[in-house]
Amino acid sequence: MAARMQQGSRPGGARFAQFKLVLLGESAVGKSSLVLRFVKDQFDDYRESTIGAAFLTQTIALDDQTTVKFEIWDTAGQERYKSLAPMYYRNANCAVVVYDITQAASLDKAKAWVKELQRQANENIIIALAGNKADLVAEQPDKRAVTTADAEAYAREANLLFFETSAKTAENVKELFTAMAKKLPIEQASQRGMRSAAGRPGGVDLGLRQEPGQQTSGPGGCQC
């Protein structure tokens, strides 16, 4: 076995798999903030629109046998003028579509993204809907512009996971990602070595980045 195919075959029957997760949603709903909370457990009140870190990874242990690693892609703003590249959702295993519960229009935008994903992305992509900035409503209930019941009804109908979150207080952030991890096909992924050319026959790892617990394939990769 080569490279990231190591996934799933750790000694003692432990399972490990890596999945690509993409974020979508209107500008300023808190996509990057959710990721920052999830990956670094930080929050920044004066965050600028995404530049810089748009690729992060985070690992969740579902139980002491099962580890899921998310390779998280943030949009980098290319969607602002409807210019998101197909590469972005290519092979995404899961997506978090975010809206701001204090902005009704942001839910419409989220619904449009869900449609787009269902049209363009993997057929079995797992999508979660996140109504973010729940903390604002906890302070001032009249700020709410989307009711929980409405969003929940839509999520059920469209077959989406649903959480109201706050990147600021961390409410439901871990829960959101954990729920996604639980729905992912870990068994299959660890067998197929998803998201890794270096694990496919003939795949090459140009950067030759050695990651812990992983080996780089020799010439030509293995024939598994």
Binding site: I51, A53, A54, Y81, K82, M87, D205
Partner: protein, 469 residues
């Protein structure tokens, strides 16, 4: 929608690979970049398209019919409009690694590199020998010639510019390649496969040029070193097609603050009294969108563009001929390779320009299982009957399910270096089968536009671009 900024350092027009690499690099280095394309997709003329889009682009069907339906889900196809491969040790690979764009794109080896000797039914198709010991086993040469070729390749392999004892008494910057071949006593047919399938020259112009020996030896070394990197062939190719490359660099640019707008037409380019560019007026409007679209204006200090945006500032240097073919079988005499490049050197088929055949398949996720996409290309040498010029390549394909062949494609080159108006144009993709000349163009444009050499090695800042756990 957010406002467009009132001013950018650089406006880039066209999302071909050359432009996207430049946008990516400039953004990483801190320039404020606005990047636009009149099309609704990334990649311009070098995009990868699905099979329905390909039928439509070439208008290869009767109205009312939908011939693409028999090829499965249209989106399972990613068919390159320009056939090229990456050398695994080449400059594009270097740029991909230096910028960490390898995070977004996965690569796979191309299974084989072949060359044709002879013509018609009697032609030999054989693996390009990749080093001295393979030369000894190659069916391309007779017994004595093999030894001579082995000596030559050994010399090339050991060549070190800094060490005169490896030069075998020649000053390569003064020598012609003919003199070098003569010195090793190589036959014409051997010169042919070395010059065309290892040094990858598309014509024989290099042979008699004084000082070209150095270039040729470097090219052969690139081939040999690329081959040595992963074995099998010196070429790699991205999963999902070449169209992933411009998208990867566009993402890099966007991550560093580059603004992206597809579906955008340039209405006016503004200049000051001295003739230097000062800004643009443009309209973003999706196909089928109602109304005027979004009109805007912004200032800029310079424009980088592909020649299609400034046709008056470019000249046509030749025409490329190309046929994209869908097959349901691998190529004969290639050991069922799932991907390959086959070069038919010009002299073997009585031409001045080589014919290239590039084949990719489901192994690179560009089509459903069981299909192969072969692109035959060359430079036009006649005014009409262009399919005849491609015929020796088409002959190698066996039964063809579909052929997509348009009119000859003009190859543009900028008329000026851009210093007068601060508009810096790229060249069209040339006929070469790899990206080495494209990366030379990237360096050339960068030098012209920024007044310094492009150094990619330090771009991987680590901080900022990527953070892990």
């Amino acid at each position: 929608m957010d406002e467009i900024a009132p001013e950018y350092d650089v406006v880039v027009l066209g999302t071909g690979l050359t432009e996207c690499i430049l946008s990516g690099v400039l953004s990483v280095k801190g320039s404020k970049v606005l990047h636009m394309d009149r099309n609704d997709h990334y990649g311009g003329e070098a995009a990868s398209v699905n099979i329905e889009a390909l039928f439509r682009k070439y208008n290869n069907f009767q109205p009312g019919t939908e011939p693409w339906k028999k090829y499965g889900r249209a989106n399972d196809w990613n068919i390159d409009l320009v056939p090229k491969l990456l050398m695994s040790n080449g400059e594009l690979t270097n740029i991909l690694v230096s910028t960490d764009v390898t995070r977004y794109i996965e690569f796979k080896l191309v299974a084989g590199s072949y060359v044709q000797q002879g013509n018609g039914a009697k032609a030999t198709v054989a693996k390009v020998p990749s080093d001295a010991s393979e030369a000894l086993r190659s069916p391309l040469m007779g017994l004595f010639e093999k030894r001579r070729a082995k000596n030559f390749l050994q010399w090339v392999g050991n060549f070190d510019e800094a060490n005169p004892s490896t030069h075998n008494g020649m000053n390569l910057s003064q020598t012609t390649m003919k003199q070098v071949y003569d010195k090793y006593g190589l036959e014409e047919t051997t010169r042919d496969f070395i010059g065309h399938s290892m040094a990858l020259y598309p014509t024989d112009d290099y042979i008699e040029k004084k000082g070209m020996a150095k270039d040729c030896v470097e090219r052969i070394r690139l081939y040999v070193n690329s081959m040595a990197r992963y074995g099998k062939s010196p070429y790699i190719y991205p999963l999902y097609g070449l169209g992933e490359l411009p998208q990867g660099f566009a993402r890099l640019s966007a991550i560093y603050g580059g603004t992206y707008m597809l579906n955008t037409n340039i209405d006016e380019v503004k200049y000051d009294e001295s003739g230097k560019v000062t800004g643009i007026r443009a309209t973003m409007k999706e196909r089928g969108e109602e109304g005027e679209g979004m009109k805007f204006e912004t200032k800029c200090k310079k424009i980088l563009a592909d020649p299609s945006y400034f046709q008056g500032k470019a000249k046509v240097t030749g025409h490329m001929l190309k046929a994209i073919c869908i097959l349901n079988h691998p190529l004969d005499k290639t050991e069922n390779a799932d991907s390959l490049q086959l070069i038919i050197p010009q002299s073997q088929v009585g031409r001045k320009h080589d014919i290239y055949v590039a084949v990719v398949s489901s192994a690179h996720n560009v089509c459903p299982k069981g299909y192969y996409i072969a692109i035959v290309s060359t430079i036009a040498e006649t005014e009409a009957n262009h399919h005849l010029e491609l015929q020796p390549g088409l002959d190698r394909l066996g039964k063809i399910e579909e052929t997509f062949m348009g009119p000859p494609i003009p190859i543009y080159e900028p008329l000026e270096d851009g210093s007068k108006d601060n508009i810096f144009l790229s060249r069209s993709y040339d006929a070469t089968s790899h990206f080495e000349t494209m990366t030379e163009d990237v360096r050339d444009i960068y030098r012209r536009a920024q007044g310094e050499e492009l150094v990619v090695e330090k771009l991987k800042s680590g901080e900022g671009l990527v953070s892990e756990e």
